[in-house]
């Protein structure tokens, strides 16, 4: 309880949490408020916002409800952001733990591979991957994770390097535990907190990367995405700027919210650590 209270004492954490909560509410209630296909044609094309209260944010080039698209887009953005971050963290933690714990040649191979991935810009990697495999939601998640796992891998390795010298690891060795069991049951859980601290940055980056991919026409065309909405609106930027501005602002708020909430968590845990 005190952790939560401490967390809520930082203003950025409060702001971040409110934004994130609103976002989750949007994503979860999308089917409730806007059942059916959000890409269905709902009214006249290019209706400006605040004209017709059944279509509060207006309609796009084909007459699709912008508000419905925004709600369903929140779902895609969050799903991609969370899934990509989870995948990146899992891959990164496993690679980092193996490298740090095994050492020697395994460490060399794994870390040089990590270096190789790190030298290629993550977005370029995602772009190449999606253009080759073809755009669909799972491919986009994979593509983003592909460029994001290196950070967690390096952090995990650094943690594992210090943890593996602890007494309880030596103890586990003495009682004859399998090295892999030691690595994943004793070492990894203790190496996780600093790795998890990276998650907010990764989620924010993943949401942005997804939007950028969709903007370039490499998102899943069967789902509404904010990046796709901005790209659609771009052709009518001069006549109907709201089509790009609305999803753009939502995107900014989301990334800000994720980042602020993440900062709050990091600060709270840092305080707790220093207290303990």
């Amino acid at each position: 309880m005190s952790v939560v209270r401490r967390f809520l004492r930082t203003p950025e954490a409060i702001a971040g949490t409110i934004i994130l909560a609103a976002l989750f509410a949007m994503a979860l209630s999308a089917s409730l408020f806007f059942p059916g296909d959000p890409q269905a044609i709902a009214g006249p094309a290019l209706l400006p916002p605040f004209q017709d209260w059944s279509l509060p944010l207006g309609t796009d080039r084909l007459g699709r409800d912008v508000l419905a698209e925004l709600f369903h887009g929140a779902r895609t953005s969050l799903a991609v952001g969370l899934a990509a971050a989870a995948a990146a963290l899992v891959i990164g933690a496993i690679v980092g733990t193996l490298a740090g714990f095994a050492g020697g040649l395994v460490d060399e191979i794994l870390m040089r591979t990590t270096d190789a991935f790190q030298t290629v810009p993550g977005f370029l990697l995602a772009l190449a991957f999606v253009s080759v495999v073809g755009p669909s939601l799972s491919v986009v998640v994979m593509a983003i994770a592909l460029g994001a796992w290196t950070g967690p891998a390096r952090v995990a390795r650094a943690e594992v390097l210090s943890i593996r010298e602890r007494d309880y690891v030596a103890g586990a060795r003495v009682i004859g535990m399998h090295p892999l069991e030691i690595a994943f049951r004793e070492v990894l859980p203790n190496a996780l907190p600093p790795v998890l601290a990276l998650s907010s940055v990764i989620v924010a980056a993943a949401i942005l990367t997804e939007a950028a991919l969709s903007f370039l026409g490499l998102g899943d065309p069967n789902r509404v995405t904010w990046g796709g909405m901005i790209a659609e609106g771009r052709t009518v930027l001069r006549t109907a700027p709201f089509l790009s501005i609305i999803p753009g602002v939502t995107l900014v708020l989301t990334v800000l919210g994720v980042y602020l909430a993440g900062e709050g968590v990091v600060e709270t845990t840092a305080v707790r650590r220093s207290l303990s």
Partner: protein
């Protein structure tokens, strides 16, 4: 206090002058004709091969038709819709085995060598027939070109070939290239393909990749007093939204081929100093077509195809996707074609209930999730409009219980997926109607075309009756009988729906008011611009 007095008469006179200056047409007024000047035009693509004799496509013509000329050009009022260019007259033999061209005298290539019938013979036999994307079909039976003298070329055909077809093919397919430049080495690798040499009003001057193409005035041009302009610069602006801004900033004076997005036209037409022109593309009609893969069991059923045709609200497509700058289609020949179009074909009114009933009849009942079956839908990526229609079609199909999954590809991947791998169920394509169904239209439904030929029937459709009709029309010499056969062809296609024609559209030009003699022929954007000038 100002001592200027304004009398009512002075105001009236002034406003009358003002009115006259705006009301007077700027065409044909000697005092506004001004020689010289540079026309800056927006270009949205940079074709690698600029030889129009090999690549007969609008992207190439847009630049190289000013450099390399054809035997004849399309015309609004000329006989058979043609006006002479390098050929002065053309005559078809009654047996359909030969066509005689009388060529223009005193024409010189840009390097000073004289233009003769040998150049025409070389272009026809060595370039159009074996290498040109469209010429391969039209000139397939061309056996020889006789050159009795320097100004006569006689095309000899192995099989009777309709003169009407050759005539209709002249504006797009008959770009003449110089023999003396192309006769050594491989034609496809000739450096002149990237810096064309022709007889046209403008010489190819330079090309800076990613920046511009520059054409300079040909002072030795055969047209009297032509060309009017000193040079034409094609400013490469790949981003479609930037063309409008460049026009407003007076960085460019002309954006052809709908470089300004349709949604922006309403706004830009109100900008002073700019005009929106919808004419000048009558001979370049694009068709919005739903290509169907007949290998899919469901789609090989005529009732299903009829249901899809009934599910598409063509008026909505014209109004919303094309913002009114298009027409609804009835069949494979566009409504604006003066020779072949017939309205006497089965039509499919927008009727969701009927579409649902047809699908029920065909035995595809709605499942518990409201879907009958799923399809893969591949919209062609070349135009915003084809992509948007893809989005619309997905919704239209959802309304009749067909779950369409959109697959987006870039251009090479789309061509490979549809025309080589056949990895589609429905595709949205923009084929071009080029003045005669035999040039690039019958190939869309004819069977027996090898895999990998783009913009052809790759949907596995086979209808022997239709094939026989196409074969018969291709060897019918009598113009009236041939036209009648193509009317029959339209009826058959509309009945059996090997593909679904949704709409027909052309392009829009936006130009500064000073650019004159715009759109004075049906292929203006891809014609030679010899008489275009900047009023000053």
């Amino acid at each position: 206090m100002s001592n200027v007095t304004i009398s009512r008469r002075a105001v009236l006179a002034g406003s009358a002058a003002l009115l006259a200056s705006t009301a007077m047409p700027d065409i044909g007024w000697a005092q506004t004709l001004k020689k010289g000047g540079r026309l800056v035009v927006a270009a949205d693509s940079e074709p690698r091969n600029l030889n129009p004799a090999i690549v007969a496509s609008n992207g190439v013509f847009f630049i190289s038709s000013k450099v390399v000329e054809t035997l004849a050009e399309a015309s609004f009022d000329g006989k058979d819709g043609l006006q002479p260019r390098l050929a002065l007259s053309w005559e078809g033999a009654a047996d359909g085995l030969s066509v005689t061209f009388k060529l223009r005298d005193g024409v010189r290539w840009h390097d000073g060598k004289p233009f003769t019938s040998a150049d025409v013979a070389f272009s026809a036999l060595q370039v159009w027939k074996p290498l040109q994307n469209l010429g391969r079909t039209v000139f397939k039976d061309l056996a020889a070109v006789d050159t009795p003298d320097d100004l006569t070329a006689v095309f000899k055909f192995a099989k009777p070939t309709p003169f009407q077809l050759i005539r209709n093919a002249l504006p797009a397919l008959s770009s003449v290239v110089p023999k003396h430049i192309y006769e050594t080495g491989k034609i496809e690798e000739n450096p002149a393909n990237n810096a064309p040499v022709g007889t046209g009003p403008f010489k190819f001057a330079e090309y800076k990749a990613g920046q511009y193409y520059r054409l300079a005035k040909n002072t030795d041009y055969w047209g009297k007093d032509e060309p009017w302009l000193d040079e034409i610069v094609y400013q490469v602006l790949p981003d479609r939204t930037s063309a409008a801004a460049a026009l407003e900033a007076e960085e460019i004076q002309l954006a052809a081929f709908s470089a300004v997005p349709l949604a922006d036209l309403d706004r830009i037409s109100k900008v002073p100093g700019l005009k929106v022109i919808t004419k000048g593309y009558e001979g370049l009609t694009y068709q919005l077509v739903v290509e169907i893969n007949h290998r899919r069991k469901e789609l090989s059923d005529l009732k299903v195809r009829q249901a899809i045709a009934h599910a598409i609200d063509k008026d909505f497509v014209v109004k919303t996707v094309f913002l009114g700058y298009a027409a609804t289609a009835t069949g494979p020949v566009p409504k604006n074609d003066p020779q072949f179009y017939t309205a006497d074909v089965p039509t499919y009114a927008f009727d969701v209930a009927k579409a649902n009933a047809l699908l029920d009849e065909a035995g595809y009942k709605k499942g518990s999730d409201g879907n009958r079956f799923s399809l893969k839908l591949l919209p062609a990526p070349y135009f915003n409009e084809t992509k948007q229609f893809g989005d619309y079609l997905r919704q239209a199909l959802a309304a009749i219980g067909i779950d369409a999954e959109l697959v987006n590809n870039d251009s090479p991947a789309h061509i490979k997926a549809v025309y080589t791998d056949h990895a589609f169920d429905l595709a949205v394509g923009p084929p071009v109607f080029r003045g005669d169904p035999a040039i690039s239209t019958t190939i869309l439904v004819q069977s027996g075309i090898p895999d990998g030929v783009p913009f052809s029937n790759q949907g596995g459709y086979k209808n022997e009756e239709l094939d026989a009709l196409i074969a018969k029309a291709s060897e019918t010499l009598d113009t009236a009988a041939r036209t009648e056969l193509y009317k029959e062809f339209q009826k058959k296609v509309a009945t059996d729906l090997p593909l679904i024609n949704v709409a027909e559209w052309s392009f829009i030009s936006v130009a500064r008011d000073t650019v004159s003699n715009i759109a004075n022929n049906p292929r203006w954007a891809v014609s030679n611009w010899a008489d275009t000038y900047l009023a000053g």
